[in-house]
Amino acid sequence: MADTAISVAAPDAVHEEAGLFGFTRAQALAFGVLVAFVLVSPFFLYPVFLMKVLCFALFACAFNLLIGYVGLLSFGHAAFFGMGGYIAGHTAKVWGLTPEIAIIGGGAVGAVLGLGIGWLAIRRSGIYFAMITLAMAQMVYFFCLQAPFTGGEDGIQQIPRGRLFGLIPLDTDFTLYWLVAAIFLGGFLLVHRVVHSPFGQVMKAVRENEPRATSLGYRTDDYKLLAFVLSAGLAGVAGGTKAMVFGIATLTDVHWNMSGEVVLMTLVGGLGTVFGPVVGAAVIVTMQNYLAEFGAWVTVIQGVIFVACVLAFRRGVVGEIGNLLKVRL
């Protein structure tokens, strides 16, 4: 192979230099569009619906951090999302603490739970990893079913939104929306930072070739565990925020169905893309809202979309667009 071999690489294949905050130009543009949408949409669309989208988008971003950048398929992320909701609900309702503390509490407990479940799961890889996370999440589900503080079948109802920092009342949906939007954008940027940090480099190396990363002297388990904890913590924040929005925390959010839904959202949007999970969450939540009248058929329709995505758009919506435009999104 002579030196001329370099000509095989088309210019578009050349890695684009990342600029501001690790965003490439295309990503910075897409981020601008996202921020604009977040700022403008509550004036046109129903804020509760938008808040639901943002909560799930954050949840999917957290999940994508693991599957997309470390290559770990967790099938138990509902545990962190649902538990985050219960903790936030309990903190706000029973202890009467402010909403930001409730949500942070949800995130903290999600992270601690992630430390335990992650510590067990990272000992295995591939399908076994997924099975352990699923099994552990089922245990969390049964715990939530039995534990007195979760309210069993009823869940925690009428969680007060309270006052942000004890000052700003969040009673109107429009006010609460700005808090949710800030949490979402903060979480989104955090995920992006993690991916584009020195830690993120090692994370990607583990995804690409774990034995090689080990042979370079990285204790890969430690990196996987930290990624798991970060992902679980963010999922807890997303769940806690959702509980504050709807005023309820129920078994639905810890059920394995929810673990499947976040997989679906991420796949539909585009695994391992920065914006994919957001788009995927928007698509799925919108669909669920507008197809609600079809009842049980929603599940079937979702299933069909899932299969279609796997077969036709392997890269997901954002992944396919990126591929068409030859940019990383």
């Binding site: 890695h15 940090s197 090689r212």
Partner: protein
């Protein structure tokens, strides 16, 4: 007395009763290029996996630099400066060529658990990474993703990445496999150059390469050490000839003159 950097005693690995490596005694002299050869399935890669702790041995002891490393984890062994490459090309395919090398240099920071920091911090390693890439003739490829490189270049990238750790001892598993002639020559020259001040343990099927590079050779067949010595001694050994006869005319041919 020879200064031994790596030695094994009774090293054995059984896979469900099948001994892939059995009772291997290996002594690698510090600063030497030591060849490990043998027919397919002889247990060479398994030996590498044992030495770098990617597999736990069934029996036996491994000593590196005077200390028993039999119980260590693979990342620990790498941190002691005993670094391996892989038989199947091992790059990080979706990362750039520069990032591949930088990941090795990044190890100098100790752990990289700072997820809140910008990766811009890693630019401090760019100059060193570019110098290493220049060494292996990959300067023009730095910004490509590693997966796009032709095979020979990938192997060169692996060597650059391994070198970036400044290893005390390198274990190279068939670095020239699947390469064209020019690439082989370049890798041979490179190994020769970087071996200065280090120890190299080399698995290689290309006996020309072995003859040109290695100070000492250990021949393995069916998991056992068949012979050990310099190229002339080993190639004169009738058992080695029998093991290789028909499989590689190069050694059979060269031994006829001996």
């Amino acid at each position: 007395m020879v200064d031994t950097i790596l030695e094994t005693e009774g090293l054995t690995k059984e896979f469900r009763g099948f001994a892939a490596v059995s009772d291997v005694r290996l002594e690698v002299a510090r600063g030497s290029i030591h060849g490990l050869i043998g027919p397919n399935g002889a247990g060479k890669t398994t030996c590498f996996n044992l030495l770098t702790k990617f597999l736990p041995p069934t029996r036996g002891v491994i000593r590196y630099d005077g200390r028993d490393i039999t119980g260590l984890k693979p990342a620990e062994v790498a941190r002691l400066g005993l670094v391996r490459s892989f038989q199947i090309s091992a790059v990080f395919p979706h990362l750039t060529v520069l990032e591949n090398v930088r990941l090795a240099l990044q190890r100098r920071r100790g752990g990289s658990f700072d997820f809140w920091r910008s990766e811009g911090l890693l630019k401090q390693f760019d100059d060193r990474a570019m110098a290493l890439l220049e060494d292996v003739g990959l300067t023009g490829y730095a910004r490509l993703t590693a997966g796009q490189l032709p095979y020979g270049r990938k192997r060169a990238l692996e060597i650059a990445t391994t070198l970036a750790l400044d290893p005390v001892m390198m274990l190279l598993d068939e670095p020239t496999a699947g390469m064209t002639h020019e690439d082989v020559d370049r890798i041979v020259a490179l190994v020769k150059r970087v071996a200065a001040g280090r120890t190299v343990l080399l698995v290689e099927h290309n006996l020309k390469v072995v003859e040109g590079l290695c100070d000492t050779i250990t021949v393995l067949t069916r998991g056992r050490v068949l012979a050990q010595g310099d190229y002339a001694t080993v190639s004169r050994n009738p058992e080695v000839q029998a093991a290789y006869l028909g499989t590689d005319p190069a050694i059979a041919g060269s031994t006829q003159h001996a």
